[in-house]
Symmetry: D2
Subunit: 265 residues, 4 copies
Amino acid sequence: MILDASCQLVYVASEEVPTVFMLRPRSGLGQWVMREEFHLHPEVPVVEYTDLYGNLCQRVVMPPGEFHVFVQYRVRVPDKLDSCPTALVAPVGNLPTDVLLYLLPSRYCQSDRLIDFAMSIVGDMPETYERVAAIHDWIHQKIRYDGTASDSSTSALETADTRRGVCRDFAHLGIALCRALSIPARMVVGFLNELQPMDLHAWFEAFVGGRWYTFDATQPRTTGNRIVIAYGRDAADVALATMFGNFTMTRMCVTVKPTDFFEVK
Amino acid sequence: MILDASCQLVYVASEEVPTVFMLRPRSGLGQWVMREEFHLHPEVPVVEYTDLYGNLCQRVVMPPGEFHVFVQYRVRVPDKLDSCPTALVAPVGNLPTDVLLYLLPSRYCQSDRLIDFAMSIVGDMPETYERVAAIHDWIHQKIRYDGTASDSSTSALETADTRRGVCRDFAHLGIALCRALSIPARMVVGFLNELQPMDLHAWFEAFVGGRWYTFDATQPRTTGNRIVIAYGRDAADVALATMFGNFTMTRMCVTVKPTDFFEVK
Amino acid sequence: MILDASCQLVYVASEEVPTVFMLRPRSGLGQWVMREEFHLHPEVPVVEYTDLYGNLCQRVVMPPGEFHVFVQYRVRVPDKLDSCPTALVAPVGNLPTDVLLYLLPSRYCQSDRLIDFAMSIVGDMPETYERVAAIHDWIHQKIRYDGTASDSSTSALETADTRRGVCRDFAHLGIALCRALSIPARMVVGFLNELQPMDLHAWFEAFVGGRWYTFDATQPRTTGNRIVIAYGRDAADVALATMFGNFTMTRMCVTVKPTDFFEVK
Amino acid sequence: MILDASCQLVYVASEEVPTVFMLRPRSGLGQWVMREEFHLHPEVPVVEYTDLYGNLCQRVVMPPGEFHVFVQYRVRVPDKLDSCPTALVAPVGNLPTDVLLYLLPSRYCQSDRLIDFAMSIVGDMPETYERVAAIHDWIHQKIRYDGTASDSSTSALETADTRRGVCRDFAHLGIALCRALSIPARMVVGFLNELQPMDLHAWFEAFVGGRWYTFDATQPRTTGNRIVIAYGRDAADVALATMFGNFTMTRMCVTVKPTDFFEVK
């Protein structure tokens, strides 16, 4: 499917606010960015760099006053995502070196404290993809989606306790539980077609059978038609805007819709 | 100035041809990519990665038959480039570590063999930006632009000898002469507004006074309005398409034109 | 001063235990590794890699049975560390890009939850090195060193509450409080001469006035004569051994002593 | 085998000479650095960094006067190196991304100009390890070892012509011929046990069958017992000392000898 997605952000600040945006998707990894727009108004100098995870980051100093950000993408994405119940959880000693990092606990995913909890979910299941599927199912069934129950400081430990949260909490808990079982897991942020209500979205990936698989515990079965914007250990790494100062966001508008149109001009 | 640039490439191959494209400009570094399109036809899987120089590279296997590549950019670029006659050539011991690499000789820039030649151009000039300007002027005046005099294997050593070549030869010679004087220098490929005839273009940058400055020895004075696609040590690093196999390029069409239009939608 | 340091570790495991050691100090950064030894017994294959922070990591699969690790270093280190009360806290917009990472919250340093607390310590102090010094002093005076009060899952938030902990807890709290004030801070692990009782040690660095400064809140005034082994965001990144499996550590012996001897052979 | 190797270098300079040493071997990759010493006299500040190829580099500014460098290693190395006649040359499209770089021409390895020459050596041999073995054999038989025939600016193109050279010329030619056949190849510098006369040494590696294999065209059959110091595209990348200024090397003494001694202290 080819998706057209856009995100409009308007901020108001009374002072300069240094900001790092992470709003430029990468091609490859299952998606192809056919078209992309990125506008800042007023125009300010930008430094783009690649962070430790390979995400493209845009550093700016947001000036006082109103500041507009508008991004728009046309991306070819897979309609259906791969799954593989028989894929094996690799012994840690066999994992690729660049994946080891995703075994460590992080700000919102205190996997070191959730080992017993994770074991209680998977029991004596075989060490395969099905363990991650069981974690996904458990979260989907036991955690209630509730936009009032958490905020930007809520971690997996708290979500495991309150059993309420939003997409990022679902993802953090899934990641923490995977890592607690020595399965590498990472956070993904991006767009999901037909999300209700439309918004930016977060989910997670787990590394089994030698590759990453996608899981979205807000859904009973993880659907395709997603645009990935950034990967990281957890939300601390992949905020679409990390801002250092006082500001108000006065508008945020996200759109995603399929397009039939594709013609090489 | 805001430039609209495009490049259309058509290849015909009788076998699969593994290819690395380098056709996705980065923002920052003086330019802002407002809009970008990248189409391949037929659609093939792509892996995008960042090379050692920070360039975004797209790996594909070009299938047999006709293969179309079309990229289009809208980029805000500076009208005029900075120059600074008093900027000092830094002692090597004071250079940033990530710049040292650009002092080494490379495939097309045998700086180790051009030390006497470089010294003959700059004589006892002070160790400033003016040395690079003198190299630029020497090349501009002494090397004749001649599309028949060189090919993709021609190096700076040969150009210094034949005194004929095209933009990449001018750039290679400029780079080699700078490095021969312990001034870091790198290759740039991209688009130049009003280039006659329009084509992809190559030029070089030299590191003096703590930053990179742009030099284009095909011009008497280096103008602005350039879109940078990639940086590297020399043309071996920054080919816009590195292809491993037999193919024919049946079409290449490059356009660049200023646009007045800019509206946040 | 030239320090001789060693660390002997003995593990016993009943199964294979994939392990990542971080036991090879880097030169530069104020220290010079004159001599280094690294022995594993039994000998097993090792893959060495550089992690995201530049630390040298050694991957092994520890075999069942007894496993010995012995490292020994001779390192020239500064007797006194720099301090600079007038060094300015940089606006985030002016920080080097590779330092931004150290502003983010992490597993053990939930800086996002400690902003008010950090402000209560520094009040209206000028935005300089003195803010970090005030944090250091506050921790040194208010947190009691207590080896029974924390474990490997204890975070800065908990230490701020219980006001007891060990060197890593002191460091985590210092880091979290700095980041809460938008001052980049990172964890350091290594050896400290004359530590009582001798053990591996942890402290922190803060980035002010364009460089990193060392702070050790277990001391009234931070002394020199330290060997740095690794840097990271917090203890999750810089464990000297990250082990995935069941094992017992049956011996750990750390020595540090000054040496007068230095002769180029 | 466990090898003790040392290298003593003495330089005399009349001015400050910025220098990058590459004298710290990495563990893993088939070798284990059990002990290492690195002394500079007089003591000067050093910055250590990792270059684009993962080599550890030491930046110093050599002061005027006499400057001593002494390194000593004890390294466990394989007695015999792997070979695998049936290992397949991978289609470029299947190569790991980080290996692609080693297909490009470089300063001393103008592979783009040696395609016909390389084809004339391998003819219609199957696309396996044997092609590299044939290149190795050709060089060993046809190129005469001659210390007077080349210097630090000699490239593979010239060696192919003069058919004389030293170890680095043998390696450059081997690398260039492999790359001309789309086989990734890289330069290695280090120590070889029983080299006659003892000196630093250079050889090459080729990537076939999914891994790197070692080839030393100065030998009829490549022997083991080598210590690797650095990897790179060619000698421009892996000079053990890259110096920017005027100096004289007044002494260079290299030793390598097997040791039986190994005891965990």
